[in-house]
Amino acid sequence: MLKTYQYPEFGYVRSPEQAEGKQVRHPVVIIGAGPIGLATGLECARRGIPCVILDDNNTVSIGSRAVCYAKRPLEFLDRLGCAERMIAKGISWQVGKVFFREKLSYQFDLLPESDHKMPAMINLQQYYLEEFLIDEIAREPKADLRWKHKLLSIRQNDDHAVLTIETPDGVFTMEATWVVACDGANSDTRKMVGGDFVGQFFQDRFLIADVVMKADFPTERWFWFDPPFHPNQSVLLHKQSDDVWRIDFQLGWDADPVEEKKPEKVIPRIKAMLGENVPFELEWVSVYQFACRRMKDFRIGRVLFAGDSAHQVSPFGARGANTGFQDADNLGWKLKLVLDGNAPEALIDTYTEERAFAADDNLMNSTRSTDFITPKSAMSKRFRNAVLELAEHTPGIRPLVNSGRLSTPTPYVTSSLNTKDVGDWAGRMTPGTNCDDAPITLGGKPAWLLNQLGDGFVVLTFGEAPASEVKSGGVSARVVTVGKDIEDTKGLVAARYDGRPGTTYLIRPDQHVAARWRSFDGKTIAAALKKACGQ
């Protein structure tokens, strides 16, 4: 197996601290170099925090894992410098087809809103994404990525943790002011600090096959309910890069995961689906059982949990890595402010507040999709089939078909960092919401709004601003004036932000709205800035 991709092997390097046998205190140590650990490391480093990323392995993600990345994570990855490469290598798709039994039930077009830098969604194998992040980290002096470093145990103190690490050179200890555990759904770190992980395991199994074929299927997402080639179950076909196709076969709970993985079982299934004469080769095959669960608190002492270690979702709707990136997005600036003494530790606790709120939204959405795809009773199956049959001729029923909902960011509408709106506002940019992108002109050249936000707090204002920055304690927010610093050439900034003369937004470093007003008032902005820093 494996015809298109050569797994890189990254060299182990003995660290000076292990060689010299001295215990060093690091501001941030990240456990795990999966997509979320890599992104968290890069995010921290870009914000100026020197950080160490440890991984027990020495390569990228092996086998069939994440495929789809949605717009908001792509915007975050764009800030880290990886998104353009991902888009160039990845596959963009817009049309999805839903089949029920032997025929096409209907098709849909994602019709993404135009004038955003990032597409609604791309498909790309997880190993490419990880490679691109690793390349970017290699260019980042503040991020120190160490392979073949396994966390063995952890001891927590009031203001730091002591980590025992095993490398090919033996065991040594290091200290961290903050530990970010990104060591996946089976997180060792979580077990070491006694973290809970509760939720639901779905009584179902899925065969996930990556297949290489040059077939001229269109670049679309095809989803079958109860097809003749795989009766009573669902099947998904999706295109990835390098002529690799992802095929998911629902197997049911009784399937034997070891038997089902054997090529002599898998190949006939795929032939039944594609037809006898479509040549293909297996690249990778695995059998998964999916779960929806999360930790109650994403912080235990000095340890913060991000990505699958904190929450696990079923892949319907492609939420796992997508939501994990938003954890990293949320955490980086908070760590920076607290480490610099510019915000109280309470700011770190808003990480759980905001991201557990988002995790619940993700868990709810992916549980709903799973309930539609795998009905739990004869009656709910009848309802499901009723929807699918009606969908063919009654367009109004189609939105009820749930074969996975596109992952979208969860606005932190209830966050304690928000300042409440006063007055009437149109559109979706309420406090706690991630900022919409829009095309602008910068220095006479076309540019994007989001690329101007994100290196710190920003005050975005429509009209005359009496100051070039607003300060609260050691934190300052740079003023960006629409019409002066950036040109709203297409009028879309004003349209998307309900911008009228005087309208002013306070935007967090993670490109989320903290507060907004109809006029620029330095004192009010400073108070909102203080609040957004957890004070």
Binding site: M379, R382, F383, N385, A386, V387, E389, L390, G396, I397
Partner: protein, 69 residues
């Protein structure tokens, strides 16, 4: 209450006969599937999220109580 629980169907006996007649030649399985379709179509027609929740709660509560007796 958003759900209209007062009498609202003109030609009530005709409606009821229509419903029963439509399933006269069906197996229980077919009729169950049809009932599901009917629920979905009518729910879409009503479209009022609160009224739908009230109807679901009312039907569920009374179904449980009836099944216990």
């Amino acid at each position: 209450m958003k759900l209209n629980t007062t009498a609202n169907i003109p030609d009530r006996d005709g409606f009821y006969q229509d419903l029963i007649d439509s399933q006269r030649d069906m197996t229980d399985e077919e009729a169950s599937l049809m009932n599901c379709k009917l629920v979905i179509l009518l729910a879409n027609h009503i479209g009022d999220r609160e009224a739908l929740t009230e109807a679901i709660r009312l039907a569920a509560r009374t179904a449980r109580a009836a099944a216990r007796t």
